[in-house]
Symmetry: C5
Subunit: 362 residues, 5 copies
Amino acid sequence: MKRNRKSKQPPSRKVGLPPGSLVHVGEVKIDRPVISLIEYDDLGLVERQFESVDDAYGYKPTHERLWLNVHGLHDAEMMAEVGRRFGLHPLAMEDILNTHQRPKIDDYGDYLFLVLRIFAYDESNHSLQSDQLSMIIGKHFVLTFQERVQGIFQPVRERLRAARSPMRQNGTDYLAYALLDTVVDRYFLSVDRLGDDAENLEDEALNRPSPALLSRINQAKHETLQMRRAVWPLREVVASMQRPENAFFKPETRLYLRDIHDHTLHIIESLDGVRELLGDLLDIYLSSVSNRLNVEVRTLTVLSMLFMPATLIAGVFGMNFHDMPLLAEKDGFWISMLMMAACALFMGGLFWRRQWLKRNAG
Amino acid sequence: MKRNRKSKQPPSRKVGLPPGSLVHVGEVKIDRPVISLIEYDDLGLVERQFESVDDAYGYKPTHERLWLNVHGLHDAEMMAEVGRRFGLHPLAMEDILNTHQRPKIDDYGDYLFLVLRIFAYDESNHSLQSDQLSMIIGKHFVLTFQERVQGIFQPVRERLRAARSPMRQNGTDYLAYALLDTVVDRYFLSVDRLGDDAENLEDEALNRPSPALLSRINQAKHETLQMRRAVWPLREVVASMQRPENAFFKPETRLYLRDIHDHTLHIIESLDGVRELLGDLLDIYLSSVSNRLNVEVRTLTVLSMLFMPATLIAGVFGMNFHDMPLLAEKDGFWISMLMMAACALFMGGLFWRRQWLKRNAG
Amino acid sequence: MKRNRKSKQPPSRKVGLPPGSLVHVGEVKIDRPVISLIEYDDLGLVERQFESVDDAYGYKPTHERLWLNVHGLHDAEMMAEVGRRFGLHPLAMEDILNTHQRPKIDDYGDYLFLVLRIFAYDESNHSLQSDQLSMIIGKHFVLTFQERVQGIFQPVRERLRAARSPMRQNGTDYLAYALLDTVVDRYFLSVDRLGDDAENLEDEALNRPSPALLSRINQAKHETLQMRRAVWPLREVVASMQRPENAFFKPETRLYLRDIHDHTLHIIESLDGVRELLGDLLDIYLSSVSNRLNVEVRTLTVLSMLFMPATLIAGVFGMNFHDMPLLAEKDGFWISMLMMAACALFMGGLFWRRQWLKRNAG
Amino acid sequence: MKRNRKSKQPPSRKVGLPPGSLVHVGEVKIDRPVISLIEYDDLGLVERQFESVDDAYGYKPTHERLWLNVHGLHDAEMMAEVGRRFGLHPLAMEDILNTHQRPKIDDYGDYLFLVLRIFAYDESNHSLQSDQLSMIIGKHFVLTFQERVQGIFQPVRERLRAARSPMRQNGTDYLAYALLDTVVDRYFLSVDRLGDDAENLEDEALNRPSPALLSRINQAKHETLQMRRAVWPLREVVASMQRPENAFFKPETRLYLRDIHDHTLHIIESLDGVRELLGDLLDIYLSSVSNRLNVEVRTLTVLSMLFMPATLIAGVFGMNFHDMPLLAEKDGFWISMLMMAACALFMGGLFWRRQWLKRNAG
Amino acid sequence: MKRNRKSKQPPSRKVGLPPGSLVHVGEVKIDRPVISLIEYDDLGLVERQFESVDDAYGYKPTHERLWLNVHGLHDAEMMAEVGRRFGLHPLAMEDILNTHQRPKIDDYGDYLFLVLRIFAYDESNHSLQSDQLSMIIGKHFVLTFQERVQGIFQPVRERLRAARSPMRQNGTDYLAYALLDTVVDRYFLSVDRLGDDAENLEDEALNRPSPALLSRINQAKHETLQMRRAVWPLREVVASMQRPENAFFKPETRLYLRDIHDHTLHIIESLDGVRELLGDLLDIYLSSVSNRLNVEVRTLTVLSMLFMPATLIAGVFGMNFHDMPLLAEKDGFWISMLMMAACALFMGGLFWRRQWLKRNAG
């Protein structure tokens, strides 16, 4: 009955610590953190990978724009080094490390700090996994921080490698847009899986109600709510990125953000549809259980009906009248047996035709 | 149990492609795309049809205002050509081709881009079909893009052909208004069908509850929600077209838009009425199934009651008292039989009058 | 099961016609249209009636202020003439004739155009009738258009005839206020009837549940919703009339409009109370039906219990022991009969005291 | 089943009368109206009482500030005189006399006009009584109008009589604040009684469900709603009094109004808690009734079970086998009787232990 | 059935008293009030404790910044002295002493006045305790008032003692932030306990429904609502502290407040999740009780079925046919007994396999 309630867990290790301390709060989902870095401009592109702070020692960027992606957040030293290099505020660093953030956008003047959630549907146990994605958008760099390797940004990397792609021509704001677009597009997949789950649950609630179902209904509700909570604030986030006073996005890119905003609304509406479906499931389940019981009682009552005429006939021929038909006949007993069987069959047939022996209602 | 969930399907073929790629996302609903073009001004009107890019080669418009309508969106080359001729932004082109858009209005400076949904009630399977209608409103042209031929704009064409109609005198903003008005007017028909469906479902839920009904109730809910989602953002769309700073609509035409705004509100209210009706249906259905079972158990109990006095009488005359009435009489047996029958008939009559043998409750 | 759904019917005859065409859309509720006209100022008052366009030929007003009321809207020629005389915009004319409008206020510069709904409770079939009232408020004239003669403005007419009434001293804005006040005051009557109906329905749902009740509950819900839809936009309408930039109402009159605004809120709150009451009715009805069935099954079970001891006693005296009491006694049989009756009476009394033979639950 | 629905009654006597006519609309709750007057400033205080217009003839105030309180509103002449003396607008007078007003604040320039509702819990029939309190706040006077004598302002009078109390030092705005504070503080008492009622009803619904309970639940819902409607607009009223542009309240007093605003929010939240509790009561009641029926059917079924083995034993010893045990024994009959009793006792004990003979479920 | 409803209790002792009187309203939760004081700046820190007014006589602060914490509020003299020393407004003092305040922020010009609620989960009776925390934030001092010693600010004290902590470097606004952060972080713990409780209740509702559960469900609902009421206004409070025009918080500190704002939203969302879970519990409980009854009736019906074939067989062999099988056989009686047992076993086995003898449904 215990449910996966990661999102509810408080940043408990932090209580009592001074704010801004660099402690990773959350599950460790990867063994060794990996930093992958792409430098690029319209002229060229360089890719590098670091696995520790030492790797990056003495490294100097050679192109105008830079995208640094971190997989795994629990190497405090490495994270501190990244924060130092890019001049990130302690609060931003703390939020990156604490993976229980609500999606939000914070403007730190020199850069925008974005928190999003990525969802992946785990086929093995039909549940939704949620990771935090933090993004720092500066004038010349984009930093992304993920809890583990999921490969969702692979297509963006491919497009970046293509020499003449618009992504190379445009600034880091376009790169940030492309990353955000990829994340939001993936939400559609998760919403679809939630929708399929809800329909399967409805099927089962109607046809095979079992107590275990109830906790699965609750889990589905919980996941839908969890996803809604992750997408709902995104509306605001994207809207604030679109505003003209936001200096990080060029007017051309803002046009593209409008598209993401539409998708966000679309996802929220679909989630609300799933929630409505799930909302009815409890009633359907409860009434389905109750109906099955009633159907069983009906079947039992029908069965007991079949004995009634036979019992009456036996009683009749057990009466002590001096003058009774059949009693003296040779096959009297068997005739009475036949009468009993005939009555039972007749009634059984009657009930069969009225479908009162079926195993489901209605 | 699988429901038509087109609207939930994500623009899945797009994931990973660079934004702005011209790929048709959605069902192909027509064999060959057709472009029909009407040029007009107060002096005259010319109509033409193109079935391929070649047809239109070297074509030059001769009148001031132009309405181009495309049926079928999957001919990428043709679509690209249209986009090039009218200088449409890649994002607009992408949205036209991806038929899973939410209704919206985007101002691209030189033209307005509108996305709407058209609804058609399919009589054969009592379900609502939804197509996307994209509209580009420029100073001198209106472009409309539909997924298939439905003939909904036929009356507008007729009015345009009438030499002295206000449509010929007025600009493309009036044409756009007329097209929008036609679309919104058709919503009323769909809302009505949904309302009729809801009432039929209520009838069936009360009188002929069956598990199949449940999925039909869900489908009706889904369709109502889907339609509401299509009409709800239209409010905003029309409101933004009415604003004085919107340069595409003349003040005279804005007066007419007010009318469309009222109709939109009217439709939303009607849809909410239908939804309220549907919301109760689940309870009615579930309780109707349960009542039918209870009525059947009542009937069975009544039937079993009829045997009780007869069985008692048989028991009584089976007692072994030395001195008992009737036993020695010649017709004693038949008299006891008559007593049994009389008791059963009497009780049956009693229950009949109390209406406990009826097949429905209450 | 078919319900009166007038309000949902679309302006269907209009589909395809150019906007602004003068076609009456809606039920014809009166035989012959009548125009009654009152001219007045502080000095005098003249009343006239026209039944056709010809009657009014060459007519010239002689007083400063004018109130023209039209009963019946289907005489297209007469309506067109009225529109022409007062310079009404085609869209306003169209809205007057199409009696399925949502309440609204449109400012046409020279005059305000108001649409309201009038409600009348039809005692014969306990249903709410709804008519459209259109009002044109100009600087020197007020025009009102009703679907039929209802006499609701009779008190206003009386007050107007009184030479020294404030209505004569004040401008047409005060007249418009008085008419509006009369309409809103009548809403209270309808709300009260709806409230009474809801309470009667609750009574019946508890004590005499029948399938017919369900459709009456639905009708009551529908009517309450319909009335709420008519009053809800009125809030906005009256609020916009109160605004200082509204040039049609003098500051003194605006003070009075505040009162109407309060009444509107009051009515909405009362309607929401009725809706809450109705919202529970479905549950009460469904559970009432179910309880009646259960009570009947309880009664049947009690009855069947009465036979049990008798049947057992009969069985006991039917045993074949060689040595049994009573069997040989002369009145043994009758003593056994008495035992049976005594047992049945004892149990019956027991159940009676526990109130298990009552016809209702609890 | 008829409920106290005073608040829904329309100002029905007014329909048709010109607005602003001085007619008392509402119940007459007191025999003779009484006017009590307190004149005061920091130097002294004079109290007087008038029972008719004549009493006040020639009366001239001698202190700077004045509080006039009227109990009973049906003496039209007296009310008119009060209105004349203080220059009250006819609309304000009309609202004072019509005791079905919604709480509101109207700014008439020279004075503020406030309408509130006072609630009193009537212990005798566990119902909430609601009276209207109208307040006129001028620069130098405060007028209060109540439907009957309730003594709620007694503490304010006491404080006013104390020579050095802040109330004497401060202006009429502070007096108005003190009166308002007293009214709002009393709301807490009523909310508490409603909360206690709701909990008692829940107790009864669980343990002693009876049809009468349903109407009491409805009454409690209605009263909670009625109170919420009276407190909800108060939020707005107090907020508008706090605004800097409101010239009637000095900045020092505005600080105190903030407190009343907080209390108002507190009361609304408590009321919403009560409403939530009441909202579940219908479900609890309905299911409690249904469970009691089911428990009774269970008891009956258990009872009928007790007869089954005895009936079988009687049948067995009634069989006609030539060779059967016990039949020939002297105490055979009594042994069979013992067997029957033993079986019944054994089964009864079994059911007793499983608690299937208890009178409540669970 | 009586629930802990402290929060609903009105400031009843205050009714009738002049506003601003220093009377402690609420439970006394501690024996002797204790004042602990920390003076600090970047150079040093001094801690002192006072247990009465006399202790503090002649005390003069020696450092720039000061944090004074009061545990226990019922020593009127001590409180008055504190108020006098720091120049607190009578209204603020009154609100500190009345521990039934709604969370709020009041700007008194020289200082901010904050009211919060602290929650502690009492393990002994699974209920949530709520205390009031009042905070005065001045330019050079922070005052905190608690109802009892809970030690929640211990970590803040520790950090303050550390000579080089940012808390010593920063002003009182940072201290206020740290205190607020501590309070909000603790909310997460309470929310988690409420969530666990809700899941346990669901378990019990499904498996061990008992009437006592219902009141526990209500208590849990009440506590969740109570906590939501305490956190909801905090949103506004923190938002208003973040505004640039708020002079008490430096821009650097405002950045940190953004974090608290996010946490507040997070808590509200979690609470809403818990409420949704609790909202379904009533339905689950009610239907669980009903199902258990139905399962018991099913079991009884199954048991009664087992007797039916035996009773029929006994009846058959009790018939008086002259020529019947088995009757004359030596072991006839025992064969018939075997037949009865066989039938009962066969039917019992059948029902067992269909799981109709299980003690739970489905």
